[in-house]
Symmetry: C2
Subunit: 309 residues, 2 copies
DNA sequence: TCAAAAGTGTTATCCTTACACCCATGT
DNA sequence: ACATGGGTGTAAGGATAACACTTTTGA
């Protein structure tokens, strides 16, 4: 169609050797159970399901699906790509990690001994502010030491961790983790290094898996606000309180009940099923279901720009 | 720290052969000049800058930077990862493409003959609705043929392309392109296939480069609404009209001037420089500059959830 | 009867949208 | 004078946030 000034091959001559690399697929599979946002792990919570891309895999997603099912016996439902990292291992061959975020429900599969669901707040205790901000404020003294006599560091700390009523942005999960790494307050930052400050609470993971988990949490916290993805984590029928508690679990913050209900109603995301809960404490609640029609109706975005009529 | 039930290596035995693959880096470098959103191309607009990851590259980004600078002599400024694709070429070795979105300004470099800036609307004419919707509506007859007697196809077409006042969501660039591909209305869908319907206007690119460009446009159109990235495309000092026209170029839609200005002002994204334009038609305009403080002040998001006090 | 959860009303405030209008400069 | 773009006022309607309050069940 268009005359080529140079073929792609021509344009790519003369560099260093092309490097054949290993490609690894990593899954962050999330479910919310009993108000707890959980992530599916192997090796007793020390690693995320993962494995190399193989010649038998027809696509990245199907390769990932194969690894998750082999290692956890859990089906991989909805999944989206998260990020691609390159590991620069000295002298060893280079490897590329392609990570995915999956949304599922714990009930969807029977137990399998090699796979364990863990609350993601075991890895990031300071990200859970539903019962108060104590876990986050416990980090402040250590961070103050790191930021001592450095105005730029102080700014970063207070921007990310709040402190004196500075406000908390729940989406900055990765930035907070990276700051803790930089400050050497997290064990994986010290591999092969000296001990300095006392470590911060929170469980470690292999390689960069905890970093990938932070990326997944951040992505999900951002996404629930503008795409109806929460419903992947809920049964077909649910009460508004269950919906609210699922959102709270993800966001790590408590929401205002009356206003939350109006928000949901106003967005017309759900419809009544006509059924009610029973047998639980309190007044029976209406059961709702997601209204899949919204996916067609609006391309689902929310404009935010003052268009001209 | 945590006792391992199995080492990572153990858990990964017994599959097919690991597959060493080629990794390719691809850049979509965008600038807005004279109200035109442009993308940096090589091969007379037929390809995006790209090249394989090499052993000398210290990271994915630095490898990309090296390729862009070699092929276009243009510096790569702000860049973020877009998406990672796997190419399943039958019998040939598999290859992985990691694409990036970069924001820049055309003025930042001198001309270089191998590299050309092209309006992205040359590739997607129907995405420009600033001068009217004729280009999009011209597609409707062909799409109607494809959707004939298929209610689901009709729904997709009207959801994506609007039609009778159904509204237009400018972020669905990729979905629209993929629908046109499926309908066989785009030349790259017919490689090695038969000719059916007349093709839709819009320039072709090699491989899946046009698809990657669609991904980049969609990402950028979404992102300008919640992150202050437009400023990467503007000079340090700019008028509000320049800012507006840059946004319009990206969104492909006209914006309402008075309300746009209030929106910007209300977000406190910019500050006055005290300087004015001169020598142009009309009243001199105040020059503004981006207020970088916003990046610290708020983690920049806009909550959208009814938090409890 | 009480605890627990569901669910409603009301208000003040802010943001968005649309429309109308005036201002300052170059030609 | 007038074309061109810069810039302001204002009012309606909608969304948000905070508060107080009523309803329905199980124990």
């Amino acid at each position: 169609m268009s005359p080529l000034a140079a073929t792609p091959t021509d344009a790519r001559q003369g560099g260093m050797r092309n490097e054949p690399v290993q490609v690894e697929l990593i899954a962050v599979l999330v479910a919310v159970t009993d108000g707890d946002p959980r992530v599916l792990t192997i090796e007793s919570g020390f690693a995320l399901p993962s494995g190399p891309l193989e010649s038998g895999h027809r696509s990245l997603q199907s390769g990932l699906r194969a690894w998750v099912e082999r290692q956890t016996h859990h089906p991989l439902g909805y999944a989206e790509q998260l990020y691609t990292f390159a590991d620069q291992q000295r002298d060893a061959a280079r490897s590329i990690s392609i990570s995915y975020l999956g949304l599922s429900r714990e009930a969807a599969a029977a137990e399998y001994p090699g796979a364990i669901w863990r609350s993601w707040y075991e890895y990031f205790p300071w990200e859970d502010r539903r019962q108060g901000v104590a876990a986050a404020e416990a980090l402040l003294p250590g961070l103050a030491v790191w930021a001592r006599e450095d105005a730029a560091r102080h700014l970063r700390v207070s921007g990310l961790f709040g402190g004196a009523g500075r406000g908390w942005n729940e989406e900055l999960v990765l930035q907070r983790y990276e700051l803790l790494w930089e400050a050497g307050l997290v064990p994986e930052a010290r591999r092969g290094g000296a001990v300095e400050m006392p470590l911060v609470p929170g469980a470690e993971m292999t390689h960069d898996h905890r970093r990938i988990l932070a990326t997944a949490i951040a992505r999900l916290r951002a996404k629930i606000k503008y795409r109806p993805v929460v419903f992947e984590l809920l049964p077909r029928d649910f009460t508004l309180l269950e919906l609210q508690q699922t959102m709270e679990a993800l966001a790590g913050q408590s929401l205002h009940k009356p206003n939350f209900r109006r928000l949901i109603e106003q967005q017309e995301l759900v419809e009544e099923t006509g059924k009610f809960t029973s047998g639980l404490a309190g007044r029976p609640a209406k059961l709702f279901r997601f209204r899949p029609a919204v996916l067609e109706e609006r391309g689902f975005t929310g404009t935010k720009l003052p268009l001209v009529r």
